[in-house]
Structure formats: structure tokens, C-alpha cells
């Protein structure tokens, strides 16, 4: 259990790992996540389960190197065991045949929206996906997303590939062109999700976002992951991680995500020193 079976780089900073976890693989649903620790003195971090392979008893996780824990995880190789994995956690995505759904993924968020797109398509939806990244060389999962969708639209901030601009602009154009959208799923950086919600709100298109606040136990015990939804405090780990984006206080989410910026930097610097002797 917890053994790394495959590891590949989707871009310079984003890694996909297949990890042996038979019981999680057997029961996980789209939208759920795990909490892992790389070492006994490590931190508990939540990561979305991007995929499962029941025959291999394995799950796929996709993560970007953003801090010490993800850097340590990236440093682990096939055959090594991850110290601890807990899951599947969180409520699964509400999946039914909504009609026409649009899945928007930005950056490493594409890894989170991918299982949702897959599940929506399996449930009979027509799925249009819009994925984006700063630049072509860091765009991930293009082929997988193409396969999981009926139509795939790509945007890059620098115009190196696909539409020159943001995914929100692509969505806006789609709406303006008269496409009747029944539901939008958006996962990515906080500003991206906020803007997507701003685009869909005037058209009253229900928009589900997956939130990634800081968590500790991730089982409803600590309240680190509290977010404000519709003016009420919710725990993203058990009440979410998906919420109606039109109700989410994104400003609070962004603020709380910055709570340990200084410590995270310090830990990362110490880690770099350690890595390079």
C-alpha cells in the first residue's frame, strides 16, 4: 500500500503519480480527495484524486510543486512508499445528466476538473471543456481532456497556444454565441474561479467550484478549511470541497490561503538548502 507505481512530469512543475491504494481506488468518486504526508514530521496536505485504476488497485494524483511537501513528494520515486494516505474524503461531485455542461480548468486545476468531466460524460452530458495555462509548455492533460469531452477549447495567457487570453473569455464568447449551458464546473486559481462566476452569474448558470483551502485533519475536526458560502461558514473538507460558486466568498478564501505564506517560504528555503547540500 502507498507505493508509487508510476511517476511522470506533465510539465516542469506538475507531476502525475499513480499510487497503490486499493481500498481508496475501489470506492472513490469524482470530486473526492485524499490527505497525504510524505514523512512522519511532514504536513498533511489534501490532493484531489484525478483517476483510479481498480485492476491495479491504484489512484492517480496530480500536483504542482508549490511548497515543501509537494517538493518532497516530487522527490520520491517509483517503488517508494508515501508515509500516509487517508481517503477518499469530501463529498463526491453531484453528477447527473444536466444536459450541456462546461468544465473549466486552469493550471493544475485541470487535474481536478478532469475526473468531473469524465464522470459527466459517462452520465450522458454533452461536455464542453475549456482549459488554460499561462503558456503552452505548462498546459497539462490536453489529450485526456479532449477524450473526456465532446469539445475542447484551449486558452493560454501568452497566446502561445489556442486562444490568446483567459479561459473566462472563452466561456464568455461561448455564452455570447448563444450556447445554452446547463451547468458549469470550474476549478483553478482563486481569481480564475471568481471571474468564471462573474461571467455566469448574470446568465444564472449554476456554477460549481472546487475549493482548496488549507486543511489539517480533513475529516471535520479542526475547522482550518472554513469558507464562507452564502454568508454561512462551511467546512470545505466535509461540506465540500465543491460549492455553488455564486455563493462563495472568494476574497476570504484567498486571504486564508495566504495565512502561512512566511512559514511556507521558510520551509521551502530550508528544504532547498537541504536538497542541494
Amino acid at each position: 500500500m502507498n507505493e508509487i507505481l508510476d511517476k511522470s512530469y506533465l510539465s516542469e512543475q506538475v507531476i502525475s503519480m499513480v499510487v497503490s491504494a486499493p481500498e481508496i481506488a475501489a470506492r472513490r468518486k469524482a470530486g473526492q480527495f485524499i490527505v497525504l504526508m510524505t514523512a512522519e514530521n511532514g504536513e498533511r496536505i489534501p490532493l484531489t484524486i484525478a483517476d483510479e485504476n481498480k485492476e491495479r488497485g491504484a489512484i492517480t494524483i496530480i500536483f504542482q510543486i508549490v511548497g515543501k511537501t509537494t517538493a518532497c513528494l516530487a522527490g520520491m520515486n517509483v517503488g517508494e512508499r508515501i508515509y500516509s494516505i487517508l481517503g477518499p474524503l469530501g463529498s463526491p461531485t453531484e453528477i447527473e445528466n444536466f444536459g450541456l455542461t462546461v468544465c473549466v480548468g486552469g493550471g493544475v486545476g485541470i487535474g481536478v476538473v478532469y475526473p468531473i468531466a469524465k464522470a459527466l460524460k459517462e452520465a450522458g452530458n454533452r461536455v464542453i471543456s475549456i482549459i488554460g495555462a499561462r503558456s503552452k509548455n505548462i498546459l497539462i492533460l490536453e489529450e485526456e481532456m479532449r477524450e473526456a469531452s465532446d469539445e475542447l477549447l484551449v486558452a493560454t495567457d501568452d497566446g502561445s497556444y489556442g486562444f490568446h487570453g483567459f479561459v473566462s473569455e472563452v466561456l464568455q464568447k461561448l455564452i455570447d454565441s448563444g450556447t445554452r449551458i446547463d451547468r458549469v464546473f470550474a476549478v483553478g486559481p482563486v481569481p480564475m474561479m471568481r471571474v468564471i462566476c462573474d461571467v455566469t452569474r448574470p446568465h444564472k448558470i449554476k456554477t460549481i467550484v472546487s475549493l482548496n483551502p488549507i486543511m489539517v485533519d480533513a475529516t471535520g475536526m479542526c475547522g482550518a478549511c472554513r469558507v464562507a458560502v452564502g454568508g454561512k461558514t462551511k467546512f470545505a473538507c466535509v461540506d465540500g470541497p465543491e460549492f455553488d460558486g455564486h455563493e462563495v466568498d472568494f476574497r476570504l478564501l484567498a486571504t486564508r490561503l495566504r495565512m502561512y505564506e512566511a512559514e511556507e517560504k521558510k520551509a521551502m528555503e530550508a528544504h532547498r538548502c537541504h536538497c542541494h547540500g
Binding site: 481500498e23 514530521n41 504536513e43 498533511r44 471535520g220 475547522g223 482550518a224 486571504t255 512559514e263 520551509a267
Partner: protein, 467 residues
């Protein structure tokens, strides 16, 4: 020694770290009895024919019996005597409220001070552990019955010990990556060194208890699946792990924690050792802890040890109504924790970065008694004032975590979400399922959870043997 002389030996104090020194470290505060002190204190016991102290013990320890072994200087025998009914003596010797259980019943306490039973319990448990001669009792022939215990906290560890000693095959499922429950995530190192919890868990494993960590029942597996896997009985000791907030403006500002989060970061994840351990926690300079229980005291004393200049306990009633143990309040005061009584927060104020910078409080006065029998605090109009803080910990209690009840058909809960279980047997509405500890009673003490677990152990044993 005749009885008159015995009464003249005063209750022996336990040596402690000096307040100024200990406020800067996480080492244990009371240092424990020396052998000499233990003998003096043990000599005070009258060995009553009808020992009332035992009636006060939720886990029925033969108190005069183990004290007799101390007087014989056979400390190992004393430890074994306690372990006949209590799997966690080193823990109980530290965190039990003996003053309202065994010691309050002690005959000596009628005229003077009771025997310091808790300190003696701690002494023998520590003696046994540091001597390294923790013997495994002889176990009966395996019964072939499988029991699943959900939660490796005080209740779960106790029932696992009791059932494995009766020959059953016991597996504990623990949601976190480490066993101990509140003993590991909640109670700080300076009150209960984690090495002690690890040793007690190790003892259970040596007796044959299996522990599967990172298994959150209700998510990783359900109760029904455990039965399908062949478990004959299931005990739920999942605790009351969900935090309660006050729902006042500004409570989600950065720097405001639930006590659960603050203590979990600092104890379980060892944030006080950051960056040696990766998990960070805020180190406030001016810290407000809301609440008056043991958890509030633990949070306040932790903040102080992390370098806070001012730590306030903010409690809406007076010290008389405080639910914390007198000893904990006393320790907190000695270390310099400031008590703001008859005070309640009404709003938190944030800075431009969304970090808490102030707390608006209101003065209270005591009115008529409420349902709990304590006088209800009533706000005094116009008495609001502001305190400068850069961190707050909300320690006003916990509630039931719904994960298990929500995924277990046929399990009855009360209107607060706690599992309904028979007080004498721990039986729930589901055949083959027992429950005990905070998930039944709401937040209480380690020892009450252990007492409930012992009752369930007897009931489960009868059930298994009659099948």
C-alpha cells in the same frame, strides 16, 4: 503506625518545574513523586475495610491494593494491580480529575486532605515504564471472535485492552495517522508527554491488538462493510470531534483558530517544533483564548510557550463556574495567563491583510441559573471595549462529528447528533454495535470515556460468548 500519626503526615506535594522556566518550554510541568515522597504519601492511606475511593473510580481500580504494594516497595506489583482494570495508568495518573472522583471520597479528606491517589498512580506507572519491565499478562485461549473498535482514543484503547485480555481478536480503526485520539492531538506535551501515550499504545500492540491508522470509518469503510468482513461486534469511540464556533462577525479572519485546530497543529503535528516539523502555526504576541475549560487552559498555556507576551482567558462567567480543573487554572495563573472573567467577545476586527488585530468584548453579569444549574451570564448594555490581539483560539466546546451516524443505517442519535447508547452496557440501537465516550455523552473527560468503554467491554464479552 496508628491512625493519629498517619493524619499528621501532610499530603505530599509533587515537585514541579518553576513557572518562569516552564512557561518557555514544552516539558512536563509536574515532575512526579520521588520514591521517598511516594512512600510518605502511600503511608497516609488508612486501608479502609470499605474503601470509598474505589466507588469513586470509573474504572474500579483496587486503590488500597496498589497502595499496599507501594508500601511493600514492590512498585511493579502495584502497577500490575492497577493494570488489572486500567490499561492507561500513566495517562490517568496525569489527566484524571481525581479531586472529584476517588480523592473526594477518601476518608482522610473529611478532616484534612485526601491521599494523593492520582500522584501515586502516576508514580507506579512511570516506575514500571522507565524500569522497562512492562510485562504482558497471560492471555486466555483465543475465542475466535472479531471485534472492530472505531477510534484509538481513551475509550477505544481501553476497550481494546479489555477485550484482548478476554481472548478476543481486536482491530482498532483510527482516522488520523497516529493513535491516541485526544491524548495525542488534544492534550499538550507539557501535561501529557506523547512518549507515554506511545508506550501505552505499544503495550496494547504487544498484547495483540491490531491498529489500522488512516482509516476513517464512514469514509474509508462503513460499519456495514465491517460486519461483512466478519467482525462480530463493533465499538464506536469516535469522540466529539467537531469544533464549535460562536458565529460572530470576523471569526473567519486569519489568526483565529478552533481549539481543535490550534492544539492539533501544535500537539499532533508538532508545530511548536517548526521548521523541524513542517506544519506551521501562528505565534501570536497577544492571544485571546475564549472559554473556561481544560482545553482553554491547554490552548492558553501553549500560546504562552510559543512566545506570546499576553495571553488572555476570556470567559463569560466567573472563576467559580469555570469547568477547568482547579489545578489547571492554578498552573495557568502561575505562568502568567491573564483572566478576563465575565467577558465575552462580540466581534473580531481585521487588518488590511485579513489578519485579526482586535477583539470587541462585552462585560457580563450573572443572572438567574440556566439549564446547567450555573447562573446565566447576561451582557451589560454599553460595556463594549476593544482588546488588541493578533491571535484567538475558540475553546467553547465541541459537538458530534456526523460521519459515522450519517453512514450507518439504524443507528439512533439524539437531537444534538450524539449516539444513543445504554448507560450500563453501551448498547446502541444497532444489533452488534456499542458506543461510549464523548460521542455518547458530549465532551467529557478521558476517564469517563474509559469507564464507558469498560462497561461496553463487559457487555460485548457477554454478547460474544453467548453467540
Amino acid at each position: 503506625m496508628d491512625e493519629k500519626k498517619k493524619e499528621k503526615v501532610p499530603r505530599q506535594k509533587m515537585p514541579e518545574q518553576e513557572p518562569q522556566m516552564r512557561a518557555k518550554n514544552f516539558d512536563e510541568v509536574p515532575l512526579g513523586y520521588t520514591e521517598e515522597l511516594a512512600l510518605l504519601e502511600a503511608g497516609r492511606c488508612l486501608h479502609c475495610k470499605k474503601p470509598f475511593c474505589v466507588d469513586g473510580c470509573p474504572v474500579d481500580i483496587d486503590i488500597p491494593g496498589f497502595i499496599k504494594h507501594i508500601l511493600e516497595k514492590d512498585y511493579i506489583a502495584a502497577a500490575r494491580k492497577i493494570k488489572e482494570t486500567n490499561s492507561l495508568p500513566a495517562v490517568c495518573g496525569r489527566v484524571c480529575p481525581q479531586e472529584e472522583q476517588c480523592e473526594i471520597k477518601c476518608v482522610l479528606g473529611k478532616k484534612g486532605e485526601p491521599v494523593a491517589i492520582g500522584r501515586l498512580e502516576r508514580f507506579v506507572a512511570d516506575y514500571e515504564r522507565t524500569a522497562g519491565i512492562v510485562a504482558i499478562p497471560d492471555l486466555p485461549k483465543p475465542t475466535g471472535k472479531k471485534v472492530a473498535v472505531v477510534g484509538a482514543g481513551p475509550a477505544g484503547l481501553t476497550i481494546a485492552g479489555d477485550l484482548v485480555r478476554r481472548g478476543h481478536d481486536v482491530t482498532i480503526f483510527e482516522g488520523l495517522h497516529k493513535s491516541g485520539g485526544v491524548l495525542i492531538y488534544g492534550i499538550p506535551e507539557f501535561r501529557l508527554p506523547k512518549g507515554i501515550v506511545d508506550a501505552e499504545v505499544e503495550y496494547l500492540i504487544r498484547m495483540g491488538v491490531r491498529i489500522e491508522t488512516n482509516m476513517i470509518i464512514g469514509r474509508s469503510k462503513t460499519i456495514d462493510e465491517l460486519f461483512a468482513e466478519g467482525y462480530h461486534a463493533i465499538f464506536l469511540g469516535v469522540g466529539a470531534g467537531a469544533p464549535v464556533f460562536m458565529n460572530i462577525p470576523g471569526e473567519n479572519l486569519s489568526g483565529i483558530y478552533s481549539a481543535n485546530e490550534y492544539l492539533t497543529r501544535s500537539n499532533l503535528m508538532k508545530a511548536y517544533l517548526f521548521p523541524e516539523f513542517d506544519t506551521p502555526v501562528a505565534r501570536g504576541r497577544n492571544v485571546a483564548v475564549i472559554g473556561g475549560g481544560n482545553v482553554a487552559m491547554d490552548s492558553a498555556r501553549t500560546a504562552l510557550r510559543m512566545g506570546a507576551e499576553n495571553v488572555y482567558i476570556v470567559y463569560r462567567r466567573t472563576e467559580v463556574e469555570m469547568p477547568a480543573r482547579i489545578e489547571e487554572v492554578h498552573h495557568a495563573k502561575e505562568e502568567g495567563i491573564q483572566f478576563k472573567l465575565l467577558t465575552a467577545p462580540v466581534e473580531y476586527i481585521g487588518d488590511d491583510n485579513g489578519w485579526v488585530k482586535g477583539m470587541k468584548c462585552i462585560q457580563m453579569e450573572l443572572g438567574e441559573p440556566d439549564d446547567s444549574g450555573r447562573r446565566r451570564p447576561v451582557p451589560i448594555k454599553g460595556s463594549e471595549y476593544l482588546i488588541d490581539i493578533d491571535m484567538a483560539v475558540v475553546a467553547i466546546g465541541t459537538m458530534a462529528n456526523p460521519i459515522v451516524p450519517a453512514t450507518t443505517p439504524g443507528l439512533t442519535t439524539n437531537r444534538w447528533g450524539y449516539i444513543v447508547a445504554d448507560e450500563e452496557t453501551g448498547k446502541t440501537s444497532r444489533e452488534g454495535v456499542w458506543a461510549g465516550g464523548d460521542i455518547v455523552t458530549g465532551s467529557a473527560t478521558v476517564i469517563l470515556a474509559m469507564g464507558a468503554a469498560k462497561k461496553s467491554a463487559r457487555s460485548i464479552h457477554e454478547y460474544l460468548m453467548s453467540k
